[in-house]
Amino acid sequence: MAVFLIIFPTLMALIGGDVTLASRVLILATFGLGVDLIFGFTGLLSFGQAAFYGTGGFVAGYLMLQHIVPNTLLALGIGTVAAALCGAVIGALSLRQVGVYFAMLTLAFGELFFFLENSPLRAFTVGESGLPGVPRATIPLGFTTIDCTSAIGTYTFIAVIYFLGYLLMRRIIASPFGRVLRAILENPERAAASGHDTLRYKLVAFTIAAAYAGIAGGLLGVFQGYMPPDAFGIDQSGEIIVVTVIGGAGTLIGPLVGAFVWIYLQHALQNVSAISGIWKLILGLIFVGLITGFRRGIVGGVVALVRARRKRTA
């Protein structure tokens, strides 16, 4: 994975993209890791993740912009914690329901955040125009300094965060905690009957996912130098689910693959003038096709294919 992240911008350049595109992919992939934890590994389909993405981004962005917290890392950290706290509260309310109702509730809470951002909190978020001028600071790490004023510097910073997030997620999935989550995915009643307080496990998972969304939102602000209000939008919540599912929910690299497909196709299709207007239609069709045919996404589909191959040859 580390090797891949180092050569990723070069690969991107080979197929007509650039470093900025690679950065976008990793931000979305970081966001998706959280969604993967709750949906792919626990079975909770949340349509309100944008609330945490936006919260993390706006809190971090506001703190940096107003020079309340000049240190970028600290501001990102605070944004992440704020997102996690929101996640804990919304999770506590929404997780009282399961399945469809859970999805509806998270959707409604996501919209609540969107409207809060747009009206009552306008003084902080500037409503519909978003937060321009989020500083692209240089980040001193003690031994070295990452310069986020250049595209490759920003990429490096985002890649480091994604890599750490990825390692942490791998650890979480492999831990006893992660095993209980998968037990909940496969059979919630049995997991509960085995003496696990499933609600608490789900709540912790939901909070972790919110934290991932929060840091991804913060990164978006640093990366763009601007925090768009769309980060709170319902389309954002939908997009991250589509990304995770296209890539393969329940696999660790699924969100990365999905984010790549989503962003790259968007970029590539928009450059073809005949179909630039309908790129989202095409991606929507791909999505519907994948759910119907390959329930486990691209990565899941490939894994299944390889396994079938091996069986035949063995």
Partner: protein, 271 residues
């Protein structure tokens, strides 16, 4: 408002199927109505066009896609209808561009009416009347007619009803298409109030979820009462604290959920 939520709750309550594409179908209905209305200048023809568009749309997506999803987990149903919503909305955008179109209030809806000292736009009152009649008709259809009986029996025990020589699949298709047509009807009636654009269905979808959660899932009366409550909250809040009007709706939903998780009229159970 109640009309959209009702279409959703019928499909969900009866078929046990959640339709995230409901908002997109609402939009399709609005566009169908708008095209015919601007061409012919007849609102009635517009309504018929909206109903026809969404009913056919409902049949097509039920046959092609939804049918194979009845037995899959709810998460899959949500995902596929969500994807479907993207496809429908983007198709509309590709055909009609993303521009917002004006949908004029029909002539018979212009003017205001004085109700006990408060002035209401005439159109809104007329829409309320139409909605009430539609709701009554649907209620009678489901609970008092033979068709409704077959629908309810088919959902209770598809196998037995099938053995009795009744085509259950066709019945399901009919219910789904009816839910879609209700969304289309709501779309065309809401258009003069909202203006027509490809994304108009999103808010409507979310709000109808709120209505369902407040009213209780699968409950006919719940959808109506929930719709009224939600409508009241929005209009009262808009009058007094406009900044919080939308937010208050979700706060109300959270409150209902904490105090009475099954909704005001819901029955406990189904998950």
């Amino acid at each position: 408002m109640a009309l959209v939520a009702l279409g959703l709750t019928i499909v969900f309550g009866l078929l046990g199927f959640v339709n995230f594409a409901h908002g997109a179908i609402f939009t399709a209905g609005a566009y169908g109505g708008w095209v015919v209305y601007t061409k012919t200048d007849s609102f009635v023809l517009g309504i018929i066009a909206a109903l026809a568009t969404t009913f056919v749309l409902g049949i097509v997506i039920e046959r092609l896609l939804i049918r194979s999803y009845y037995n899959r987990p709810p998460e899959d149903q949500i995902l596929v209808t969500f994807g479907l919503a993207i496809v429908i909305v983007e198709t509309i955008r590709a055909i009609f561009t993303g521009q917002t179109q004006m949908f004029n209030t029909p002539a018979w809806g212009n003017g205001v009416i004085n109700v006990a000292g408060i002035f209401y736009p005439q159109y809104r009152l007329e829409v309320i009347g139409v909605v009430a009649v539609t709701l009554l008709a649907i209620y009678l259809l489901i609970y008092k007619t033979k068709i409704g009986l077959i629908v309810r029996a088919g959902i209770d025990d598809p196998l037995v009803v099938n053995l009795l020589g009744i085509n259950v699949r066709r019945t399901f298709m009919f219910v789904f298409a009816m839910g879609a047509a209700l969304a289309g009807l709501a779309g065309v009636f809401d258009s003069p109030l909202l203006a027509v654009n490809p994304d108009m269905g999103t808010d409507v979808l979310v709000q109808s979820f709120v209505v369902i959660v407040i009213g209780g899932v699968g409950s006919f009366g719940g959808a109506i009462v929930g719709g009224l409550i939600a409508g009241e909250i929005i209009s009262l809040a808009t009058a007094f604290i406009p900044d919080y009007s939308q937010a208050l709706l979700y706060v109300a939903m959270a409150l209902v959920l904490i105090l009475r998780p099954q909704g005001l009229f819901g029955v406990v159970g189904r998950s």
